[in-house]
Structure formats: C-alpha cells, structure tokens
Symmetry: C2
C-alpha cells in the first residue's frame, strides 16, 4: 500500500452557504502537494458582523503551507467562488486558472486589489487539462445561473475526483453550455473515486426547472404592462438578463441596463464571447428621452441592497430615472434568507409610489441555479462515484446529502470546514482537523472574526457606551469632578434628572470617598468607576452600558 | 346633513405588520369621542433597533386627547394586539374591555407593569354590547390562531362598522368558536357602513386551510418517530399545542410543556374555560425519568428566539433536557420574515447533534391564522359593506386589498398610520393627518424612534468608536499629550504601528501647532480633534469612526 495520500480539506463553504474554498492534496502525509478550488467571499450582516465589508474563509493554514500550494482553480464567476482571489493573491502567490469568462471576472477582482492580472490564466474546457504538481485538472462544463460554470475533473495517482462546483442539470440554459449527460458519462466511464458535490438545494424535492421555462412567462407579463417596466435579477445571471431584455424587445421596448455590476457583467460576457447575442441597449441619457411605455430598465439590487439601483429607485431616483404610478417592477429572483427585510422595504416603497410589484412566490419568473434532490440523485447515477462528499451547504444540507447518498449505496461523510478527509481508501476517513473560521475585511484591515473587535461593536449597539473621565493630580488626588459622555443612551431616566448629571454626581461622590490605595491604582480605580457607572445607568435607565474609563494623571 | 362625524385613525398596524392600534371617533370635528381598538407591540431587530426591548406605536396624539377617550377594546390576545396595554394604561387611564381569555392575558400584561388588573373588564360575546360614549361595541366571534379572537361590531349614530381584527374563515378550528357564517350574515343584515379588515395574507391566492387539517399529518409523523420528539409552535396557538399534544398522546407518549410562555398560555386557556380538554402533561422533573421514545416535548421558540426553549436546546440543554442523535424536532410554524437567520441557526445546531429537523416548507404541519385573498373576498360577500378599509398590513398589503375591494365594487382607501379617515359619507375621505411613528421601550425608558439614540448605537456598530481626551491648563495650554481609547476598531492598520499610538501622535502634534484661538474654544477644538482622529483612522484602517472628544480644562 502506497504511503501517499489523497486528501480533501474544506476551508470555506462546508457548513455554510458562501465563501467556498476547498483544498485537495496528494503526497506523503503532511507533505501533500496542494491545490485550492475556489476562493470566495460571503457578505456581512448587521446581526453578526456590523460594519464588516466582506467575509473571507480563514486562510491561515493554507498561507502557512503555501510552499506546498501549486495553483488555484476557479469553477465559476460568482462572488462566493471568486470574490477573494484579489484579496489573497499576495499571500498565496500561485497562478489562478479559470475558463475565459470566469478568468475575465477574476482579473477584475485582481485589478480591484492591485494584484497582477496576468497571474490569472485562461484555460479551455475539457478535454484540456492543466498540470499542477501531482494533479491534472480539467474544466468540465455544467449548467448554472452564470455562464460557463464548470465542474473540475481532478486526477491524481489515487484516482479521479469530480468536484461539481455549483450546478444544475439544465439542457436548455439560454446562455452557455447545456448539461451534457453523455459527456459526463464518458468522463466518468473509467471510474470516479469521489464526487464532491453542491448541496444547497438538497431539501428541494422536485426536479429543477430549466432557465428556458421562464422566458414565455416573462414575455407575457411584460407585453401586457401599460407603463414602464423595471426588472431586477442577479447581475451575474446573464441568461436571465438576456431573457428579460429579449422579452422587452419583443414587446417593442428599448432596453436600458442600470447598475455598474450588471453593465460590467454583460460587457464581460460579450467581450469573452460567452454571450453571442443581446438586444440593443440604450444609454441612460437616451432612456430618459424615450416614452415610458416603450422602455424597460434592467437593474441591480434584487436582494434589496441599499446602494443598488433598485433600492435607489425605491427611495426616489437613480441616474435621473424615477418610477411612477402604474409602472411595473419585477423581481425575477428569489430572496436569499436573511435579505427579506431589505427586499420587503423596497416593495413597500414602490407600493407607496403606486408601482405594481411582481415577485416570484410561485416560481413563475425565476428558477434556481442549483440541483434539487432528484437532480443530485440523477448526477450520482451518471457519475457512479465510489464516494459522495457533500460540500457547499449548511450542516443540515451536508447531512441530508450524505444521508441520501448512503441510502443509494454510496460511501459518504459530513465534512465541515477544517475537516481533513483522506480519500485514498475505499471510504472517506477523517485524517485530522485544521483550525478554520472567518476573516473579516474591515475597512482596509483583515481581522479575525473572534478578535473581539466586532463583538465590541455589537455590544455598543445593544448596550450603548458611556465614557468616564477623571483627572488625578501628582498626589493621586482627584482634580475636579468626574466627567462623562454618553452615546446611544437615553438622556434621562427614572429620576427625570439628566443621566449625565446623575452619573457625574455618583462618580464624583465615589472619588470623594475612595481610599488612597484605590486612587493610586489605575486598574482598581477603573474597575470601581465602571461598576458605579453601570449600576447608576441600570438604576436610571434600566440598562448596563459598555463603559470606557479614562484616568488621566498629572505626573 | 349632520355636523357629527365618524372617524377612523390608525396609529399602528396600518403600513406594517405588528403593533396594532386603531382609533375610532364620533362627534363634532375635533371633539369626537374616541375609542381605541387594540394596543399592541412589535419586536426590535438588530438592523433597525439594536438593544431596544419593545416597539410601541407613538401614542402621543391619543395621550394629548385622552380626555376624549372612552375605552380600549382588545380583539384578541396576540402580542401585537394586547402587548402594550400595561405600558400605556397610566397614560390613557380608561378601562380595557376584552373577552374572558383575552382579558386574562391583558391582566397579565397589566400586572407585569404594575398597572391595576381590575381595569381590565371581561365582557361576553355578541349579542352583548358595551357602551362607550357614542359607541356601542360588541365582540363578534371569529376564528384565528389564538382562541377567542373577535371582530368588533362598532355601532354609532353614523352606522355600523365591523372591525375584523385578525381572522380566518375556519369552520373546524380545533379550539374556540368556528367561523359562523350565518351569525355574521345576521349581524350584517341591516347594512354595514365599513368593514375595516385584516390584510396580512392578501397575496396568498388559495383559500385558507383549516386548523383541523394538520392533525392527521402531525399524528402520522409523531407515531413513526423512533426516539424523542420535540415540537415547537407559537405558544398562543392553543389549538396547535393541543393538536400536537394529542398526536403525542395517541402515539403513547407523555407530554411535557417547556417554556414559560407556553405553560402560561395553556394554563390561562384552561382556567378561563376556553380549553375544555388537554392531554395530561408531566412536569419537567418527571419527564427526565421517562424513556425518550415515550416522550414528546412541546417547546417555545418557533422563531429562533435566542432565549426560548428551542434555542437553548439547540445550544445544548434546557432544564436538564438534551436532544440526541435520532431525536426529531418539528417546526409546526412558519418563519416570520426577518427571523430566518435565527431559525436556520437552530436547524443547523440540531443537525450537528444528529437530530432530524422537520419544517413546514410544503405546508403540511402548519396552517396560517389569517384570511387569504379568496377568504377576504368571501367575507366581503357575507358582510356586504359599503366600504372596505384595509388595515393590519404593510403598504403593499393595504394597497392590494383596496384594489381587490374596488374591483368588487366597494369603496376603499389606503389609510396608513396617522391618516384620519372620515367614514360619515358614502365613501371614505381623508380628513387629516396626525403625527405618528414608533416609540421604543429601551431598558426602563420610552424613547422616540427618531430621537437619535438608536441611530448613534447603529453608527457605533457600523463605524466603531474613538474617544479623544485632552487636558488644558489655566492658560489654555495642552497639559501632556492627547490620550485616546478605541472600541470596536482594529488595533493596527496600514503602518503596522498600534492605531492608538498613531492617533495620539497625530493629535498631540496638532495640539502643538494649534493657535491660541482654537485652544481657547471648546467647539472649535473638538471639531478639529474629531476631524484629525477620523482622517488618521481613515488613513490607517480605511474607516472613519464615531469620535467623542473630551476636553478637560483645569480652571
């Protein structure tokens, strides 16, 4: 038996939806040569990560082992797969491989961070293969909600692994390659050791529907709209943007793209040849001169993002365009869990303007880009892998996916971020654990999710902040009274006196009675002042705030 | 034509879901005698109201006019209809009328706030009527997801108004009165001026299903579960709690209620005679001794609330009970928009324990308590009102409800919070606007949503907080260096020096070069110090924080 091992190590995306990053390795234990598949981001939210700009997987382990890293391979151009390449290129220092459209998007990401665009290398689809240490890797086309998604065929001396990436089984995807069952069967013919597979839609029990199915419905809707039509979808869903634009065109409307992300995505798709035809678009300036009933705007912001075009239109105006009574706004998208409030806010703002909002609660104007349970089962039947390793999903998705795989006679395992799996034998086996977590991009700085910085912000948001300032002279005697500032707290409470006055009085009284030992000891003094400030606030306003104490000594 | 007017004025619940509060008035303009229907709360969230304990409608207008207020009538016992009675009783000082079960819940609310429970007066159902100034008010039974919900029949010299409250048309509601079509027709026979009607489910296009329909499904599920079963639903949904308990009992399981709200609700339902039979329950102590496969726990926390029983079980333990591999957890509930993250968190925690989580995405184990669009239309046909005034809903719900009402030949209007509607004539007419908004219960203090207090907390959460402290002597000369504290900010940035050091150096340098005029002027000095602190942070960490400046003068 060989002492070389084939390992799989998710660093992001396994135990969550978002920020995909998966390591494969081959070689002697602890000396495996490594490749990284995908390097994505996830987005912050007010509840857990206020003020954070972007969330990355914790790449510490990989950076520590970067001398063993051969290359990064990107399956497709969604933010949760490619969004972090620019942020970590300097730390990793290896080439990034992707197909032409994805590579163009990856180069944008590099450029945005001042990283060298030339380090992104464009490769062709299967049967082209790229050598990376002990691996050869091919990009096997598959359908998804962005053009040119690819599964990776990862060959090593220990056998073939297929890493599905995000996918659906769509034979009429409008833009990009249809799912080619015969090609997948051919690639799998000589035996596949492991299928590492997207789990996001495992709880959806009906077979997925084709992108082509929404076109007729959208066209019927748009053709009957009496006034202006505005539609939003994910900017990266080029097929949907095209479907929307063509529906508008057939209804005799001029098409205008609004929102930087959408324009950039369509331009990139055209430039790279992924998008062969697209209705003529008019500029925003020209659009303003076109009669509203002859116009259709395609806009960013399907998730209610506050700075996107849709939210700005909902608040009143975007690039000089406004919506009016009788216009229609179509959400050709689903709301990602957690974004409901933002989307509902926009819907109500449009309602106040008299705009007809059409959404997709019955699935008429949107289809998912991911494989549902029957599709996952169908893919297993085609690939016939020895093992199925569920990835990209919350714990419940991975677990369910492992369960249905085992029920079909496949070896499987639930491997969350940080779990190193040995794929060498006949069944997956836990080979170890690696510390993982989340890294926050916070302004210009990368910080750890557990560094306490964001925790302090959350505490200030929940509890308010009191600053206590005292000055002591050379003899450790208080000089004047305690001085406070409050932020995020009511100005008065139960006693109806200003909270600041009550605080300063209580603290000054304490200073008057504090003994020399306390006054001479910064830590002790701070602790006492904090305790008193918190208790006074609790008495007055029923809340114990965060307290910062500043002791200044004239010495 | 009489100069007396019948007015309707929503103060909460019209333009949002939650915190219902509706004023009716009759009399000469500006001197109308008033009644209030419902006095509810809504719940805070981290995004818009971090740290806030409860949200109330702004009652300022009503408090200013309390000499005209006759009484409060509560339609049913949900928090968004009764939750604020204890908080405003002292301000309003009028009796609160409700039916027996609702009154018992209202008395709990009064007691919790130290308000006199005796001010809650129990009244019977229609045809009993209560006189309140120019109004007589009757409680007309209707089905909903809490026992003993009632529409109000509000008679005045200007005619009869029916205020639906929350309702569904359920003829087999398991607990409480079935919807009685004949009774409603009889009440409406002599003409109804206005139907003021629940709008929450207007976008649901299928007729609502009966509470009785979920019993069989739940029973099938529970009877096949191999290990312990835990189920959660809204504590106030007494019918569902009973259905769950009976399903467990029939499957040979002992029933244990966990969570204060659920026990209190069932006890109150039994004590008031609303709940005639309920399976025998065991105490938590006894439950621990019962074999797991013979046990069913009914727990609070269907919305993922962090302190409820379900979330505590998901984190590990509640009252000594733990869940294990193979146990089942059933969400017999829907997730209210905005609560998805909390519910998903729990689901994944259970998944990690090996617990089977069953939820309701296909509507098998839960039905809504509100009337869907066909039900709203059916009620209009029964009541045959001159006007339909949509209430309880976001703007989009009210607008759609008005639209479908007008399409059926009814007069209608979209009246959001603060819009005073004159119902006297043949059509609803806007009679004026009243300032409204939201009042926050913040610890022990009521604050206005726009007071800036919560805004400051959100800013600290998004931007972090820097405190700058400088001391000036009697001659306005800086004494020592500037001193800073940071909270919620990275400790170092681009220069790799500690952020505090860079801040203090930049600020101290400024103090050294500042002219006498600036040093002598607190406002000017603070402004400059704030500007420098923000710029330094922006240079170092790419973020402009909130800055509090404390200038201490030894004078």
């Amino acid at each position: 038996m060989s002492s070389e091992k084939l390992i799989y190590l998710p660093l992001g995306g396994a135990g969550e939806i978002g920020m995909n990053a998966y390591v494969y390795g081959y070689g002697k234990e602890g000396q495996e040569r490594l490749i990284l598949v995908d390097l994505g981001v996830t987005f912050s939210d007010m509840e857990t990560s206020p003020g954070v700009d972007l969330i990355f997987p914790d790449m510490t382990w990989l950076i520590e082992n970067k001398d063993r890293l051969e290359a990064v391979f990107i399956t497709h151009g969604h933010e949760d797969h490619v969004g972090a390449v620019g942020h970590f290129w300097e730390d990793l220092g290896v080439p990034v491989y992707a197909r032409v459209f994805t590579a163009a998007l990856a180069r944008h990401k590099m450029k945005d961070r001042g990283a060298p665009e030339a380090e992104v290398i464009t490769v062709g689809a299967w049967p082209e293969m790229t050598k990376a240490g002990p691996f050869t890797v091919g990009f096997l086309p598959v359908s998804h909600s962005i053009p040119e998604s690819a599964a990776l065929v990862i060959d090593s001396p220990a056998g073939r692994v297929i890493h599905s990436g995000d996918f659906k089984l769509d034979e009429t995807p409008v833009v990009g390659e249809p799912f080619d069952k015969d090609l997948w069967a051919e690639v799998s013919r000589d035996g596949v050791k492991a299928l590492v597979c997207d789990s996001t839609n495992v709880f959806s029990l009906h077979p997925g529907r084709s992108e082509a199915s929404v076109g007729r419905e959208i066209e019927a809707l748009v053709s009957e709209a009496p006034h202006m039509v505005v539609a939003t979808t994910f900017a990266s869903n080029v097929a949907r943007v095209k479907t929307l634009a063509e529906a508008g065109e057939r209804a005799g409307r001029s098409i205008c793209l609004m929102g930087r992300a959408m324009r950039r995505m369509i331009e990139t798709a055209v430039e790279t040849g992924v998008l062969k035809s697209f209705p003529k678009v008019v500029s925003i300036e020209d659009a303003r001169a076109i009669p509203r009933e002859n116009l259709m705007l395609l806009v960013t912001g399907s998730q209610g993002e506050r700075r996107a075009a849709s939210a700005q239109l909902a608040r009143g105006k975007y690039n000089g365009m406004t919506l009016k009574d009788g216009d229609m706004f179509l959400f050709s998208s689903k709301t990602i869990p957690g974004n409901e409030r933002g989307v509902i806010r926009i819907m109500n703002q449009f309602s106040e303007m008299g705009v007809e909002v059409v959404d997709d609660h019955e699935g008429r104007y949107h289809v998912s880009g991911h494989a549902n349970r029957p599709d996952l089962e169908a893919l297993q039947d085609i690939v016939n892998p020895q093992m199925v390793i569920p990835n990209h999903g919350e714990h419940r998705h991975l677990r369910q996916h492992a369960k249905i795989s085992e029920a079909r006679g496949r070896q499987s395992i639930v491997a969350v971020n940080g779990t190193m799996i040995d794929l060498t034998g006949n069944a997956p086996r836990v080979a170890g654990y690696v510390e993982t977590g989340r890294t926050y991009l916070d302004g210009a700085v990368k910080i750890g999710a557990l560094d306490g910085i964001v925790r302090d912000r959350i505490r200030m948001a929940l509890n308010g902040h009191v600053v206590v300032n005292v000055i002591l002279d050379e003899d450790d005697e208080p000089l004047g009274e305690a001085w406070c500032e409050i932020m995020g707290l009511p100005e008065q409470g139960r006693s109806f006196a200003p909270l600041l006055d009550v605080l300063e009085e209580d603290l000054t009284q304490f200073l008057g009675r504090a003994n020399d030992k306390t006054l001479a000891n910064d830590d002790k003094l701070e602790e006492e002042l904090r305790r008193i400030a918190r208790n006074t606030c609790n008495d007055e306003i029923g809340r114990k705030p965060e307290v910062t104490v500043i002791v200044s000594r004239l010495s």
